[in-house]
């Protein structure tokens, strides 16, 4: 049984790749959760919607692999000749699937829990959805068993579940039902998880009893769908078609450039038959990722996102599709298509999708920022500084309007009437003299007048419109009984002073794009260097894993340093934003010039990519075998 488990078709490098994806996803999820929850949304996971979202994310990470890869294959064709009863193989396969799901679940939940545990201290003031997660750890495995058994019960007597539309719909339906069940179980006591578990085990027992001694390749009925792909054995000779089909073909005329491009996309961007669906799943994900990286969600909730921390991760994401595309080059390399053209189809799709998501999000964020005042008075720590988790009352502005003090001793703010307060600065890393601070901070002992003064200064810095602080004090500021000032309706200000446009673009996105592009090409170059006919397959897989490890280390390392107190990524992000903003303001032409520079950088990166591609030798044996 153990050896059959080891030989299961799912236990190949696909499992490792899924593991990496799940791990990265969990990390990103943890980042989002902690950022969201640190703000006013800290109670979000107590609501049913919050729990449902959490359940959905965890369940999908743990179970989505069932739709792809070789989950349909119970054993390899070779195993059919071995004296192992079909029931044994079936059971081994089901166990393998459940085990993999458990591993992914543990990976996912584990990363989440580690991050939440790291942030549980009162210093950060955040309590995570512990009970929900613990509940998930019980209910997801139970549901997984049930879903896997139900999936594998279809066509149980065949070696492989035939790939049909109905079959795929059934699988998707099962996955969705599993999700609903998971959410349902979250509202019931933990012991209720035994129901799906018991049901799953019972059904598995029934199936095992009913299986014949051996699997069949195809059902006796002719309409059942064939098992064998062309690669394994022969197909049958096709009867000659009606001349009408050829007539229609000839009438269609030559291939237009657009159709040629689409054909090349199909060949180069959607891999061999058994992996083609990955593209349909991955490309929308890229769009969403670009959208996330644009900071739209953050702007919507009036936050700044530390996108720059995720650059290496972004680059890896853009690169990660390349290993699936490289084996496809062999289909076109005997054709008179230049390597440059092939390179366009390898390099551009992921990048363009990312840029599309980025731009869409940026435009949305700009619109949101137009509609809401970019200045708030509060204590909730959801901006870049004060850094994550710290509460400090201040006039909050977008991070790029902050200041950097290179010797760690910023000057106090002095009001016209002589009231002055020290500024709270945040060191870049432990022991550093460089510090970042907001010149609009209002410590607890400041008077409401001082607060109004700071607000007025902030409006002038952000919008370039001077509004006297007395006006703000009289009309917009509310002072409560114990002397705390608050700005309850900031948008009223915006309505009263139409034409307030935030000055200047932050320049963050072109800078982000340029660096992402450079790192992407670096990764692609390293990987393509292993793509020669003389280099063994293992070296290519090693290159891919090394790059994945680098991306994980670069991202997770920041979290580790943060927990250890050495580094505060949010401070670093604020620091970089301030510098980029200053750079943009100093450039003639502002953000537009930065965009042009970014375009040049990307073109340079593309040119480098093409150069590396020219030396690649697409390995002709075993299409689709690399890093699978």
């Amino acid at each position: 049984m153990w050896s059959q488990l080891r030989r299961d078709p799912m236990m190949d490098a696909t499992a490792v790749r899924w593991g990496i994806i799940v791990f990265l996803n969990a990390g990103v999820l943890a980042g989002i959760m902690t950022t969201l929850a640190a703000g006013s949304a800290s109670r979000a996971f107590d609501t049913l919607l919050g729990k449902a979202v959490l359940a959905a994310l965890v369940w999908i990470s743990a179970a989505a692999f069932l739709l792809f890869g070789r989950a349909r294959e119970r054993c390899r064709v070779f195993d059919l000749a071995l004296p192992i009863p079909a029931a044994g193989i079936w059971l081994a396969h089901v166990t393998a699937l459940v085990l993999l799901g458990l591993i992914f679940l543990v990976l996912n939940a584990g990363v989440l829990m580690i991050c939440l545990w790291a942030f549980r201290s009162p210093r950060f003031g955040f309590s995570g959805p512990w009970e929900a997660l613990m509940g998930l750890l019980l209910s997801v495995p139970a549901n997984l068993v049930l879903v896997v058994v139900l999936m594998q019960r279809s066509r149980a007597s065949l070696r492989q579940i035939p790939r049909t539309l109905a079959g795929t719909a059934y699988s998707v339906l099962l996955l969705g039902s599993g999700l609903v069940l998971t959410i349902l179980l979250m509202t019931l006591p933990a012991v209720a998880a035994l129901i799906p578990l018991g049901l799953g085990l019972y059904l598995a027992y029934r199936t095992c009893r009913s299986l014949p001694q051996a699997f069949a390749l195809t059902s006796a009925k002719p309409d059942a769908g064939r098992d064998f792909a062309r690669a394994d054995s022969e197909g049958t000779v096709v009867r000659p078609a009606a001349a009408r089909e050829w007539e229609a073909f000839d009438r269609a005329g030559p291939l237009r450039s657009f159709s040629l491009a689409w054909l090349l996309i199909r060949i180069l961007c959607f891999g061999p038959s058994n992996k083609r669906h990955a593209g349909w799943f991955f490309f929308p994900y890229l769009l969403l990722w670009g959208f996330y990286m644009s900071g739209f969600l953050a702007a919507w909730r009036f936050m700044d996102l530390p996108q720059l921390s995720y650059i290496v991760l972004s680059s890896f994401l853009l690169f990660s599709y390349l290993p699936a595309q490289m084996p496809q080059v062999q289909y076109v390399e005997c054709l008179p298509i230049s390597r440059n053209r092939i390179g366009a189809f390898l390099f551009l799709p992921t990048l363009l999708l990312f840029v599309a998501g980025l731009e869409a999000g940026a435009i949305g964020a700009a619109k949101v920022q137009q509609a809401r005042l970019q200045i708030q008075l509060g204590t909730s720590p959801t901006s870049l500084f004060p850094p994550y988790g710290e509460k400090a009352p201040m006039v909050r502005v977008p991070a790029m309007y902050g200041e950097v003090s290179w010797d760690g001793k910023p000057e106090d703010i002095v009001s016209p009437w002589g009231e002055s307060h020290p500024v709270r600065e945040y060191a870049l890393y432990r022991g550093s003299r460089i510090a970042v601070y907001s010149p609009f901070s209002t410590p607890e002992e400041s008077s409401p007048r001082f607060v109004a003064f700071q607000i007025s200064r902030a409006i002038e810095a952000v919008y370039g419109v001077p509004i006297p602080y007395q006006k703000i004090l009289d009309l917009y500021l509310e002072v409560s009984a114990d002397g705390t000032a608050s700005l309850p309706d900031p948008d009223r200000l915006l309505a009263d002073f139409p034409g307030l446009n935030p000055r200047g673009e932050s320049g963050l996105i072109p800078a982000l794009l340029a660096v992402t592009g450079i790192v992407y090409v670096l990764m692609a170059s390293i990987y393509m260097g292993a793509w020669r006919a003389r280099v063994p397959d293992s070296r290519r897989k090693a290159a891919y894993l090394a790059l994945a490890a680098a991306a994980i280390a670069a991202t997770a390392g920041q979290v580790v340093l943060m927990i250890a107190g050495w580094l505060r990524p949010h401070v670093g992000a604020a620091f970089l934003r301030i510098l980029i903003f200053r750079f943009v303001r100093a450039l003639p032409g502002g953000a537009a010039t930065l965009w042009v520079l970014c375009a040049f950088v990307l073109l340079g990166a593309y040119w480098l990519f093409l150069g590396r591609l020219r030396r690649v030798e697409a390995v002709p044996e075993r299409p689709g075998a690399v890093c699978s």
Binding site: A229, R230, T236, P240, W246, Q330, A618, P623
Partner: protein, 296 residues
């Protein structure tokens, strides 16, 4: 300028495992050459180097004087390539594949395409992955031939196919030779096909060129000598001038000489006092076996 030229080509897939160690030969326009060699001798590698799919570590290959890696696009427009392991994208239909080739090759000949697709009884809406191996190879042949290439590289094109399909391949090639005067380099294990088509034979063994002669020359000027084993010294036999290989088989020595049977008999009688040798002209398949077995 030679149409197809290999010059001192070296290639190793791994360190220390040399596949090709200095192979040089060339083909003129309109020549048909058969490339022979054991499995793994380097025939496929040689063709891949000619197509620019892999790059030779030392030495060079040229088609029409063009470098296959630098002038790839221009060269590939005039070359057709069919290989046993070269796959067409499985999820495309036959029609899409043909359309793709039509668009990419400016010299595409539509009447020829029509003729061939009728001959091969193809259907445009069928996906490649549902075709049998023979039909898929026929599609590949159609795509390689319909643009009337000046050079045709066939790497075991008939491998694993039934005799009827193999014969169709030959007929199509002969047609192409007649109409376009294509230069053909093909490798095959079916000696009868080689004997029909090839004007020249190139044999690669252990990374080096063993034979590079006209086929008729091999038939007429080479002979196989069968000598009973007792009284025959293998060493002295292989040292004789003109002896290419010696092999022991079933109580007799098989030796190949580069002279006609008459002279071979005289040589054996004169130099080694062997009078009961049986010398005959040698068929290509036997020559292949003798050379390959007798030298390893």
């Amino acid at each position: 300028m030679k149409t197809l030229e290999f010059e001192d080509v070296h290639y190793a897939y791994q360190e220390g495992a040399d596949v090709l160690q200095g192979v040089s030969f060339s083909l003129d326009e309109g020549e048909v050459a058969g490339l022979l060699g054991k499995n793994g001798a380097g025939k496929t590698t040689l063709m891949r180097i000619a197509m620019g799919i892999v790059g030779a570590q030392k030495g060079s290959a040229r088609i029409f004087g063009l470098d296959p890696r630098k002038d790839a696009v221009e060269m590939k427009r005039r070359v057709g390539y069919v290989s046993e392991d070269q796959a067409l994208p499985e999820f495309l239909t036959v029609g899409e594949v043909i359309r793709l080739h039509r668009r990419l090759f400016p010299t595409w000949d539509e009447p020829l395409e029509r003729r061939l697709r009728e001959r091969f009884t193809l259907s445009p809406k069928v996906k490649i992955k549902t075709l049998s191996k023979g039909q898929a190879r026929q599609v590949a042949l159609l795509c390689a031939v319909a643009h009337r290439p000046e050079v045709l590289l066939l790497d075991e094109p008939a491998g694993g196919l039934d005799p009827a399909v193999r014969r169709e391949f030959l007929e199509t090639s002969v047609r192409l030779l007649n109409e376009t005067g294509t230069t053909i380099l093909f490798s095959s294990h079916y000696m009868t096909d080689v004997e029909r088509m090839a004007g020249r034979i190139v044999m690669i063994h252990e990374g080096r060129l063993l034979i590079d002669n006209a086929l008729d020359d091999l038939r007429e000027n080479y002979s196989l000598a069968l000598i009973p084993q007792e009284g025959a010294d293998r060493r002295r036999l292989s040292d004789l001038k003109g002896c290419l290989s010696v092999r022991v088989q079933g109580g007799a020595l098989h030796a190949i000489f580069s002279c006609e049977p008459e002279r071979c008999r005289a040589l054996l009688a004169g130099e080694l006092e062997i009078h009961n040798a049986f010398c005959t002209p040698i068929a290509l398949e036997d020559m292949f076996i003798e050379l390959v077995e007798g030298r390893s």
